[in-house]
Symmetry: C2
Subunit: 313 residues, 2 copies
């Protein structure tokens, strides 16, 4: 392909300048890219510049790339003008499948055929979004988390028509741009993090609906409970440490029966020996030689650092 | 009642000295209490002292209460000896309903009848655990999070036989001891945080089982994604900010349809106007006058502080 290398991207086009699109604009500017933005809303430029200005102190504190400047943002009047200049396109339109289908077709028609076009969609697959687009081989999902200028994660996944080379190009580009990337091998609705977040969110909605907890109690239960651990160790490693010296193996053998408890409205999978072993072995791979004591010490240092950082120690 | 005031507790008895019980021992010692511990395991004292020693540097860094010392720990040989001296009992036995029923009956028989007995159970209700106990009116759930010496949250909830006065006494005691308390009005299996955590955990297990994500990807998706936000703003306030200036109201009206998406195996409740309003009004109460811009600025400062604290900025 004659596509520019992931490290050689200079101009990023951002289509859509709401909370997510505007967050991307701020991030790419801070990383030293030239950014061209387009959004059909009347007051889009004003809102976008407000959002970039609000994010800039945070980005400055984290460290701007050499030469990074808000002056490298150009807001243009037409999609065609925005896309013609792109080395990479990030689409962040409202979450509406019909709109995405049409917009991605329009973007693809307006963008040089080698240029990768990535969508911020929260959960649609590129297979269902790319139905009307030509050159669909360069359409890919690059799903960020709000705010994209601070949260590192980007989930990258292609559709049926996406070239595998485009998926790895996109993952490389986001990594080069400082992101933390999950490169998915196949389409799963909601990707990874949103499936987990959505399960929690739906359980929370059920609890509010049933009068089991208030909105404030739900938030407190996370910020003062598991949320303090999840900033540093994910749910798997968290439970690896809940098992004491026996780790995840002991945890599953000890708490496995609670999978049958009505602790959430979500049915659990059967804890087959295969699933148990997959989880245990995954934790061991992730621990990568660190003992339970090592991980406990890391967690404790991390929780203390987080509590202190948030002024709560 | 002749019960000691929550502020006048001097001696805490910890029954069970595994990961959770031992964590409680370390916490109460650091807060200046005298702690009496009992555990039937052969090597319980050795493991307990190892755990307390491992936690002590963290607790020292966070600030010990005046006079706090590991020397104020006594490990005794019998449950009766442990309970006779208690101003408050925290039970942290393995998560086994039959065992809890018998043990709580034994603890209640051995403890002066005015003394509150709290269980660390991860999800059983006190109604089902207290079936064999006399003086069940002073039995209550006080559910901590691992490690109890660092994570602030304790969920307090009584059973059918529990006196409401005991529930509020226990909440007051834990607050006085420096904990963040959710005082539940009625029993819900798994309480609040474990229901949310369990929904996420079950979705994660389904994803591993179906080959949709690896253990490492699941953890990365949280630590580098929503987990960074949840240390400072819970899932409700997080989504309040996902709606831009329109807040939760806009978010629900915009992303509400995604509740119908297959983004998790958990069925969503119907987003009735009543549920929508309850969530929106809860967020407004929680925001307590802070504008979206205020909350965005708080979140950004918080995420940056957390990233810096974890050495990831």
């Amino acid at each position: 392909m004659s596509r520019v290398a992931p490290t050689e991207v200079r101009t990023v086009t951002c289509v859509g300048a709401g909370v997510i699109g505007g967050g991307w604009v701020a991030y790419f500017l801070a990383k030293g890219y030239r950014v061209v933005a387009w959004d059909p809303a009347e007051d889009a430029e004003q809102r976008l510049r407000h959002l970039v200005d609000a994010a800039w102190p945070a980005l400055t504190e984290l460290g701007l790339a050499a030469g990074a400047s808000v002056d490298h943002l150009t807001v243009v009047d037409t999609l065609a003008e925005a896309c013609a200049q792109a080395d990479f396109v990030q689409e962040s339109a409202p979450e509406d499948l019909e709109l995405k289908r049409t917009l991605l077709a329009d973007i693809s028609a307006a963008t040089p055929p080698d240029v990768v076009i990535s969508s911020s969609t929260s959960g649609y697959g590129m297979t269902e979004m790319a139905t009307r687009a030509e050159h669909a081989e360069r359409l890919v999902v690059g799903h960020p988390f709000n705010p994209p200028y601070l949260i590192p994660l980007v989930e990258v996944v292609g559709g049926e028509a996406t070239s595998p080379e485009v998926v790895s190009w996109t993952a490389d580009f986001f990594r080069h741009a400082g992101k933390s990337v999950i490169e998915m091998k196949r389409e799963v609705p909601g990707f990874v993090a949103n499936r987990l977040q959505e399960a929690l969110w739906r359980e929370a909605l059920h609890m509010v609906e049933n009068g089991e907890a208030t909105v404030e109690e739900i938030d407190l239960s996370i910020t003062d409970g598991p949320g303090l651990r999840w900033a540093l160790q994910g749910p798997m490693l968290t439970f690896h440490l809940a098992g004491g010296q026996g780790g995840m193996a002991h945890m599953l053998d000890h708490f496995g029966p609670s999978l049958l408890s009505p602790w959430t409205r979500l049915e659990a999978p059967e804890l087959t020996p295969e699933l148990r072993d997959a989880v245990v072995e995954g934790c061991e791979r992730e621990a990568d030689g660190r003992s339970i004591d090592d991980l406990v010490a890391e967690r404790d240092r991390g929780v203390i650092a987080v509590l202190r950082a948030l002024g709560r120690a």
